[in-house]
Symmetry: C2
DNA sequence: AGAATAAATGCAAACGTTTGCATTGTGGTT
DNA sequence: AACCACAATGCAAACGTTTGCATTTATTCT
């Protein structure tokens, strides 16, 4: 049973040297003799010394912690981004405090407050769907805390960003469907006020226009990004309209809702109608028919985001000015059964 | 642009009072006049003061942070547990540092080191599949850091724990399959050296024995908990043996591998053979046939775990002794198409 | 040998809070 | 008018590091 944590002072006392030397020895300072370093290391181990990074952070004015805010951690995409972020940040000596905004701007503000209070070295954020006003983020910048946005970004903020080329992913997918000979594609997606869905819509629009199809004449449903919302939509839609040739859901979950609705009405996919989703959720290749979708390389996005943050933090340390960078990752079309008409 | 962070000293100077008063005012200390409190709050806002919880932690000797170690964050189960944990811990004023062990005991040790270095107020852990030796966890206890184990627990450690009643879940599921009239059930699962799979096996065994079936005569495959490992197994198995009546995979991913292997060999589920999984992954109700499985109430597990930790931390603060508690959550059988023979 | 240089260590302040104890101020009681 | 009690605030130390500068010790050069 350990009553009191051992500190570098204890080690110093034990060896009849000062705390400064111990500190430097433990941090491998060049001016410390090799023999003392070894001696210090040994006694540190003997006394079961555990460094106190809280104290170090306070003194150094910066923490070895990085904050990350995502809408939801239990979304496959985000948890993979987190994995990617950690794979870069941990080796660099940082650890992550993860917060969930739960798609609420109020929670987002609170999250930022606790991250700032914890004096994190930097912040990674994918903003909530509700977030339009960016004052709380400007505050972070004003506080000189390096900020990197990813996935759900905003061009109004002058920071480094990593985005998916949703326009291109959506364009490729739409083109692929058009090549199957269809002349109409119903669009289903989240609110276009979010950059993500705006871009996905634009890619779709572009492909349609290139094929000489008027996008204004296409049916377009915008709603919550959930299976149920899409299921409700398609049930209602089928009651009043004839079966469309194809449906492009800008989210795999919505695609799943569409598929369930179509199947319960007795329609065969892809024979009667083509369906595609977006983001390659794990279930996309497990369902029947296997879902054509777009893969977003989520882990790589995490790695890229973390790398940008490391750069920013370094720049800030060196106190040099530095242009912010915007990295765009190209997603990959994954063609599966749901769009392969026999 | 803010050059230097404003501190309580700045506020004090601004109001011609001392930092102590400011500190107490901000923490709503009863001995501070209401009028001063308001004054302090106002100037704090005016000077854009952001509390430094690093400094507070150092002084108070404990952080407002809690560490959590999970094997993998991008597993549906764990990310939901995390959500549950946060829903309890955040309102209580704590935030989470999340670490991934990636199923490696070495990484687990490192994670613990950084958590201790960050002087977290407590630690939540679900140990890696590799972890048998528990010395690193005993060290945590010796350091007086409250520790709560969840899901993958060990009885060798005297700490509070939250577990799923895997025996019961597995028993219920097996019994359900037996009620369909089958006389043999192939078992597929992870290594039984892990408490989880040992328990799931025991529940299965118990149900078989009660039905008068010798569990020793059943086929049993133990391997990595992945789709591919199960797929490989079933392919090989089908080559050399006749089709079994039912297969119980103690993991939904493995069940998915089994289903794919069976389907590619032309077998119909549930008509030719029954299949069930475990843990109710999101895809379980999306695939065809919909998968019978066991739901584990992952968010609730998170909440229960966090609550136990809060209790432990409080007890430690009050310096009273306290018996460790083991909470067992009863999982729920989810019957779907894959075990419903027509 | 003495001076000059280099190498290793020590000194002390600082980071921003919190907190036990001391002090001041205010009003009430005798 | 002296005293007491209580409310409100101040004082100063402490938490465990890090780090610029000063100091000591060892080494090299003339």
């Amino acid at each position: 049973m350990i009553r009191k944590q051992t500190t570098i002072q204890d080690i110093a006392q034990h060896l009849n040297i000062t705390a400064s030397t111990v500190s430097r020895a433990l941090n491998d300072h060049p001016k410390i003799k090799k023999s003392t370093k070894e001696l210090v290391q040994q006694t540190a181990k003997k006394l079961n010394y555990q460094p106190n990074s809280i104290a170090a952070s306070l003194r150094k004015g910066r923490a070895t912690t990085v904050g990350m805010i995502v809408p939801r951690i239990n979304r496959h995409f985000f948890s993979n981004v987190i994995t990617g972020v950690e794979s870069v940040l941990n080796p660099a000596g940082f650890n992550l405090i993860i917060c969930q905004s739960e798609e609420s701007i109020e929670k987002e503000k609170e999250n930022l407050k606790t991250l700032i209070a914890n004096r994190v070295g930097g912040i990674l954020i994918s903003i909530s769907i509700e977030t339009k006003n960016l004052k709380h983020l400007e505050k972070v910048i004003a506080h000189q805390i390096p900020l990197v946005m990813f996935d759900r970004i905003s061009d109004k903020l002058d920071v480094s960003k990593v985005e998916n080329d949703d326009v291109s992913g959506s364009y490729d997918l739409t083109k692929h469907i058009l090549e199957k000979g269809v002349k109409e594609i119903v669009w289903v997606g989240g609110p276009r006020s979010s950059s993500i869905y705006k871009n996905r819509y634009n890619g779709y629009k572009k492909a349609l226009n290139e094929a000489g199809i008027d996008h204004e004449k296409q049916v377009c449903f915008e709603g919550p990004i959930t299976l149920d919302s899409a299921l409700d939509f398609i049930r209602l839609y089928l009651k009043k309209n004839k079966l469309p040739e194809a449906i492009f859901a800008a989210s795999d979950y919505m695609a799943m809702g569409i598929i369930q609705g179509l199947q319960e009405a007795g329609h065969k996919i892809p024979d009667d109608i083509l369906v595609a989703g977006y983001s390659n959720e794990p279930f996309a290749e497990l369902i029947s028919p296997k879902l054509t979708t777009v893969d977003q390389f989520s882990e790589e996005m995490g790695r890229a985001t973390a790398q940008l943050l490391l750069d920013e933090m370094e720049t800030k340390n060196a106190n040099t000015t530095h242009n912010h960078i915007k990295t765009t990752l190209k997603p990959k079309l994954i063609i599966r059964e749901s769009t392969q008409k026999k």
